[in-house]
């Protein structure tokens, strides 16, 4: 809608020292987002600070609306999206939950809103540190969910997000999870692409015949009952299924345009070739895990790591392929699911279900770690690997799920 001359800032590729939140704010400017809504909650609020600064500095123009609550914040972008505006918003922890009604409706109405979730522990008690239960809570509702590990990936994933979400074959919202503190408050060297590159990569959002406009009289979201509802849900299911190949194509194109990226958009593999034990986790957990693995490898241990990037759509195929040849899988959850089948974490259960139909199923052990932003140290990783190794050696799992780093 609002088109302005690309800012001088983005005429040449350059590197900057920025946090994950700043990276996402820059992506908003690069993608020339039309409507951005905000309501403060830590750590997401860092994004709104940077967005408002970029706007105030004239780097880009958008309708920047500070709502009176998260509920309205998400309602506004949902409506803006229906009239064809590219949108961005975000929240954290219980703020995200306060918007829950709008969040479910956004997916139901197929609005390609892109949101950043600054992962934060849920109240009570009031805590600010990272925990993944906030974003995970929407996992069944039709949002694509992604966990990033670095500030660079935050910027890149935001660009990918609009491209995939707004694809006419998808039209589903996407949330990008950034671990509070480790990503939202740490500054790293990031390559900032040019507007030209981004414009080439990201076509304008075109809602086509679904766009709410006086020239295109339509009704959105009438009351329906059992007469229509299942068909509507089935459509969302189909869109989510279609998103898999859209993501694959968009990522290939991303790599060509920007000259960086992993082999797969869905997972990151680290030293998995020949690995007997593979650790699986999401987000910034990757850092201590990789350092631990490098040291374990030096000591001759065959350990690898898989970082799940897309949690929705869940990369079942990729994971089956990588994990199928391992002896044991060590799932580290920065979340919990009280009363779940194994009294374990969300990722663990999803993964076990994905691997169930494998002919040779690896052993699976779960670790709950790093809740509320508690650090997961290299020692903790070693400790988990030891427990899994023992299970492999004895062929027996003594305890399916173990809490790591909790004071007795």
């Amino acid at each position: 809608m609002t088109t302005i001359a690309p800012s001088e800032l983005f005429q040449t590729e350059k590197e900057d020292l920025i946090s994950g939140s700043e990276a996402i704010a820059l992506a908003c400017a690069l993608a020339d987002v039309d409507v951005i809504t905000a309501y403060p909650i830590r750590p997401y609020d860092t994004v709104m600070q940077y967005v408002s600064k970029l706007k105030a500095d004239g780097v880009f123009d958008c309708d920047f609306i500070v709502a009176e609550s998260e509920h309205s914040q998400f309602e506004i972008v949902k409506h803006a999206s229906s009239v064809g505006a590219r949108t961005f918003c975000g929240s954290s922890g219980v703020g995200w939950f306060y918007a829950f009604e709008a969040i479910t409706v956004t997916a139901g109405l197929r609005m390609p809103v892109v949101a950043m979730v600054g992962n934060r522990a849920l109240d009570d008690p009031g805590a600010f540190g990272t925990e993944h239960n906030d974003a995970l809570a929407v996992r069944d509702l039709g949002w694509m969910l992604y966990w990033v590990a670095t500030a660079q990936e935050a910027l890149d994933t935001a660009l990918l997000a609009w491209r995939v979400a707004e694809d006419p074959n998808v039209l589903l919202p996407m949330a990008i999870s950034c671990d509070g503190s480790f990503l939202t408050h740490s500054q790293a060297i990031v390559n900032v692409p040019t507007s030209d590159q981004v414009q080439k990569y990201l076509p304008p959002y075109d809602r086509g015949k679904l766009q709410l406009h006086p020239d295109n009289p339509i009704t959105v979201a009438p009351q329906v009952n059992e007469d229509w509802l299942m068909e509507i849900r089935r459509q969302s299911d189909e869109a989510m299924q279609r998103s898999v190949s859209v993501i694959r194509d968009a990522y290939e194109d991303f790599k060509k345009t920007f000259n960086r990226g992993d082999p797969s958009p869905f997972i990151e593999e680290y030293m998995t070739e020949d690995a007997e034990i593979i650790i699986v986790g999401m987000g910034t957990l990757a850092l201590p895990v990789k350092v631990a693995i490098r040291r374990l490898r030096e000591a001759g241990r065959k350990i690898g790591f898989v970082r799940v990037k897309f949690f929705r759509p869940f990369p079942t195929e990729e994971l089956r392929q990588v994990l199928g040849s391992s002896k044991a899988v060590c799932v580290v959850d920065r979340d919990y699911s009280f009363g779940s089948p194994s009294f374990a974490g969300v990722l663990f259960h999803e993964l076990r279900s994905a691997l169930y139909s494998l002919e040779n199923r690896p052993m699976m052990l779960n670790f709950i770690a790093g809740l509320g932003g508690r650090e997961v140290h290299v020692n903790d990783v070693n400790h988990m690997v030891d427990i899994v190794q023992k299970a492999v050696d004895t062929g027996k799992i003594e305890q399916e799920s173990t809490w790591i780093g909790v004071r007795e």
């Binding site: 020292l17 408050h185 740490s186 060297i189």
Partner: protein, 383 residues
Amino acid sequence: MSTVAVEVVYRGIFQKTLARNIVRTIVFAARKEGKIGTAFGRYGDSPERNGIPAKQFAVVADDPEELDETLARYEPTEVDVTINVDDTLCKGVESWAWYGLQPINQLTKPDGTLIVTSWQDADSLIRDMHQKDAPIGLSIVKGTVSFSGLWVYKDDHTDVRILGTLAKVCPQLVSLESMLEAIQEQMDNETKVASAQKSFDLASVRPVEPGEGNPETPYKFELPGWKTMEEGVVIRGIEAGAGFRGGDGGYQPVRSEVFKKYSTRSMRPVINFETCIKCTLCWLQCPDTCFDVTPDGLYDANMESCCGCGVCEAVCPVPDCVTMVSEADFEDNNSQYEMWQEDKQGYNSWMTALVDKQKAETRTHGFHHVGGYAEEISEMTEA
């Protein structure tokens, strides 16, 4: 392997931009030499509270894998240089998250350096610092502590003066040339480059030997386990309290054993017990219930609890009856009321001298500033 870590200890909000400028410029300077780096604030300190001690870090390494080695632990376990931008923090650092009292030099490596901005001399700073069992160096950047509010940045060159000093005391971090280049690029200001150069030339290090400094053991506390903690996120209340110092008259509330707060203070109130009209306002308004009521109805601010907010000074209706003065002038937390009881004349002249000194100084506790920065810069860079 050559990873270099630097921490900046500062007063939340009032010195946030200062700390940020320092850690960011370090990383940009390292970048000039093809190194990689990261800059971050300690999340437990955020959202920052006015004046509450906080930390930011810069970590620089030769390549990304080396950087990861250090960052695998978010908060470094040791740093090559500790930069303290408020000398009163030499007494210790107590963040608003629950860490206990951390000595200012806790993370400083053996043979590392502590840089402090201060007008105080080395001996008086070392008296405040906790003892360490390894030697470190102390380098003083002479100057008035740089405080400003949330929305302003007091550009008194403290950032570049520290960066110039840093290049001298920690040559393994970056060369002076790279530092000056980064300053020019980031701040686009020739005079700031000149200030950094001057500080580099003037910088010197005073060795601090093991055993020098405050012998006290900094207080800490045991964190409960999940089996010992009460369920339902319940914290037991503290008992109400009794008479003044346990006696019959007056009133003294019981205070938390494990949450003292005195390191959060850059200034403390001194009370003129002679002019106090016993109006109760300080006692009523103090956000931390610091005031013990004495048997004769006076109010004694308890310095184990006081966070130095200055509210008592603001609400006291009597001129100069409560005055916030620099924390740097104190070595203990003793009761002012008891001092006054023991020797009224002695107390009064001591207190009046502190009040007069404060009036002549430009030190503030950050909510407002006094004096012109431009004049201060030349005075400080010459020192």
